[in-house]
Amino acid sequence: MASTETARRRPLDGVRVIDLTKIVAGPNATRMLATMGAEVIRVEWRDDRALDLLRGVRPLAPGGEADSLNRSGLFNNINAGKYGITLNMNLPQGRDLFKRLVADASVLCENYSPRQMERWELGYEVLRKINPGLIYLQISGMGKSGVYDAYLSVGPTAQALSGLTHMSGFPEPMPPAGWGYSYLDHSTGYYGAILVLAALLRRRRTGLGCYIDLSQTETGIMVSGTATLEAQLTGQPTSRHGNRMQAADWAPHGAYPCRGADEWIAIAIQNDVQWTALAAAIGAPAWTGDARFSSAAGRKANEDELDRLMADAIRNTERYDLMNRLQQRGVPAAAVQKADDRCERDPQLRARGYFVPLPHSEIGIWNVEGFPAKFGKIPVDVGGLPHRGAPMMGEDNDAVYRNLLGLSSEEIATLREEWVI
């Protein structure tokens, strides 16, 4: 496992994380911990009920066996830097091995369906007796306590309930646009990492472990901005505003079509200086001199008309060219970048080394998304301790069961034969 002779200390040196998470929210949390140097051991099993469905999610790396569980691009991205073992928790022998792993771990993270751990008799009250200093992060859609403790959720469920879906898009009668992906699988992972990192600090001072019952829906409520406060103030339900800024007289403020199929630029004018610069950058068409648009309040009051004129004025402009011209004049503007743009046409991401090539034992070297901060001296590596992409199914069985649990080759072989690992 991890070398004890690492030349440079990492923030989570000596921290072992047993990772029972699946899909994206939980694995995102443990990805952060792996990035910070924790020894993260993913515990997985092959049968349909236990398998992490993400292992089968397309796109897959080309080639290979059709039924391979090791070729999903999303799985590789989310699980980089971790070790991987197989363990059949449905067997008593498997649960005994699991308890031995937990006994010597710092952190357990899991996001099974509600009550699954209790069904296995592996709830926090059981595990804390084995390891009083354990930090147990349990992630669920609604939260383990409360009225909806048995409710089921995935990212889109939590986004709907929290209010995030409703808040995104144009006003009625248009429906909500919502989020085009599971934003709360990301955010919940971040909060999971934050709470574990804070709990580790507290444990260093007090020796205390803890249980953390993290709710994905509450994460959505937390990032709902000022909406809940404003609604309490006005008594009016939260409404949607498209891409407009309601909190200030910023206009134009939106996404405008450019040359090409579905190419757009976002522009945000915050004051008169930027407005004047924008007008000059697009050739000062006559309408930009209209008295209605001469003040921030006037532009805001006439935003529908302003948006229409803006869209007509720049429709045939190349988006990056316009972005550059506006930025040279100090106007906040940015191309609406799709994934290919970020991978191929974003010089900033390239210069900062955002994409990190990591080896994977079956599919070879692939880029994964990096950590968005550079540290002066702390080594931070999305490849984690093994400095590689995601583990293959059970890739580290021998190392973990031999080195961590002290099992012999014969014992490991028997466990394999008995379908325990």
Partner: protein, 421 residues
């Protein structure tokens, strides 16, 4: 339970100095919620967020901005002009006993202050400095002007969010930035991950560090399948109304309810799903044919037509019930559906009340408290993050903080006369 045992006190005795613009404020809130003493150095005119709405009073009083109070919960305010020459002495004395400095703003200003903060680190090697800038401190885009909207455009979030294209595949609506401030939420969460990781590192080594956080990179990490879809398959996902962006069109998830609201009701097309939805239709008294030979024959003959028919039946079911009825009845059947709530509808929900998701914070100008979303988790009994007080008035703690740093009343008066306070 002792305060020490609370996760919301994990960062007790940690002193954070926060300066710069309003974009880094969310990081300070999260740290304050974990018990840190967050001292906001906001200058004589106060943070920009004091001038952003919504406001609790019609006069747009900067002391009454809900934007400010949401993003500065639990902090102290010192009216120090950090760029004033006379502020150097104050910063030296504050930093001697501080653990972290967060400096948010455009790269040029932040880099200039960073030179001084590095000097402060020589006097206090345990000091952690986190810069929070649009692109980090290097790279070709370093000095571009950005806002929340333009970050969500350039970082790829908007490209995945919006409305369905027309039948011919062309879009007649723009990409959507899902409500305001999400770029700063994402980057703030990463800042806290970075800072708490650095605090863990300091426990091991006794050394602080510098963290160079890029908002653009933080947003870029947060688009789920978009980047892997391109890297592994060369394809670009396309936005769709209220559901995941995808390479090819998928069936709608949002459905209208009897009370004119929406639910998110997605289908996995399983046999169990057909059975329980047939039960729900029966219970709601809605005619259907899902248990008929005709439907089973359609499933055999044309799975695609059967799916369309099934989806239409789900529309009928949803249209016969209120959004909340759909949510609870579906969850009782094990379906992962939810009502598309307004965020404020969660305040009175017994589940979130039981968990302490919201905390009442006094608003003297209103003569009442408003419920703020403060916590995403519990430790089984208590909120994982909580606040001892609301946002500060401008300069509310200037005297207290400076006196604590050893400044006499006369020295404080001199600083004010010189324009540093």
């Amino acid at each position: 339970m002792s305060t020490q045992a609370l996760l919301s006190s994990a960062l007790a005795d940690t002193v954070i100095l926060e300066c710069g613009d309003e974009h880094g404020e969310f990081a300070g809130v999260l740290l304050a919620g974990l018990g840190a003493d967050v001292i906001k150095l906001e200058g004589k005119s106060g943070s920009n967020s004091r001038r952003l709405g919504p406001f609790t009073t019609p006069d747009r009083n900067p002391e009454h901005s809900l934007r400010f109070s949401r993003y500065n919960l639990g902090k102290k305010s010192v009216s120090l002009e950090v760029d004033h020459p006379a502020a150097r002495d104050v910063l030296e004395r504050l930093a001697a006993h501080a653990d972290v400095i967060i400096d948010s703003g455009e790269a040029l200003a932040v880099a200039r202050r960073l030179k001084f903060f590095r000097e402060l680190q020589k006097a206090n090697p345990r000091l952690i400095v986190c810069t929070f800038t649009p692109f980090g401190l290097d790279g070709p885009y370093r000095d571009l002007k950005m806002t929340d909207l333009t970050h969500l455009a350039l970082g790829g979030v908007m490209a995945s969010c919006g409305y369905d294209p027309l039948a011919d595949g062309a879009y007649d609506t723009p990409p959507i930035a899902p409500e305001m401030w999400q770029a700063y939420h994402i980057a703030g969460e990463y800042a806290v991950i970075s800072i708490t990781a650095a605090l863990n590192y300091r426990e091991l080594t006794g050394e602080g560090d510098c963290i160079d956080l890029s908002i653009h990179e933080a947003v870029s990490t947060c688009t789920e399948v978009a980047i892997p879809t391109y890297i592994y398959g060369g394809a670009v996902v396309r936005r769709q109304t209220g559901r995941h962006a995808a390479e090819s069109r998928t069936r709608p998830w949002l459905r209208r309810t009897r009370d004119g609201r929406y639910v998110k009701a997605f289908l996995f097309w399983s046999g169990r799903e057909v059975r329980v939805i047939a039960e729900m239709l029966n219970e709601a008294g809605v005619e259907h044919d899902l248990d008929s030979d005709g439907y089973r024959e359609l499933q055999r003959r044309s799975p695609s037509e059967a799916q369309a028919h099934f989806s239409a039946m789900v529309d009928k079911l949803v249209a016969s019930l209120t959004a909340e009825e759909v949510f609870h009845r579906a969850q009782a059947k094990g379906l992962l559906w939810a009502s598309v709530r307004y965020p404020e509808e969660n305040i009175d929900d017994p589940h979130f009340q039981a968990r302490g998701t919201f905390q009442p914070i006094a608003h003297p100008e209103l003569g009442r408290a408003l419920n703020y979303p403060v916590s995403v988790a519990t430790d089984g009994n208590n909120r994982a993050t909580a606040f001892t007080h609301g946002a500060p008035r401008l300069g509310e703690h200037t005297r207290q903080v400076l006196s604590g740093a050893g400044f006499s009343a006369a020295e404080i008066a001199t600083l004010a006369e010189r324009g540093a306070l």
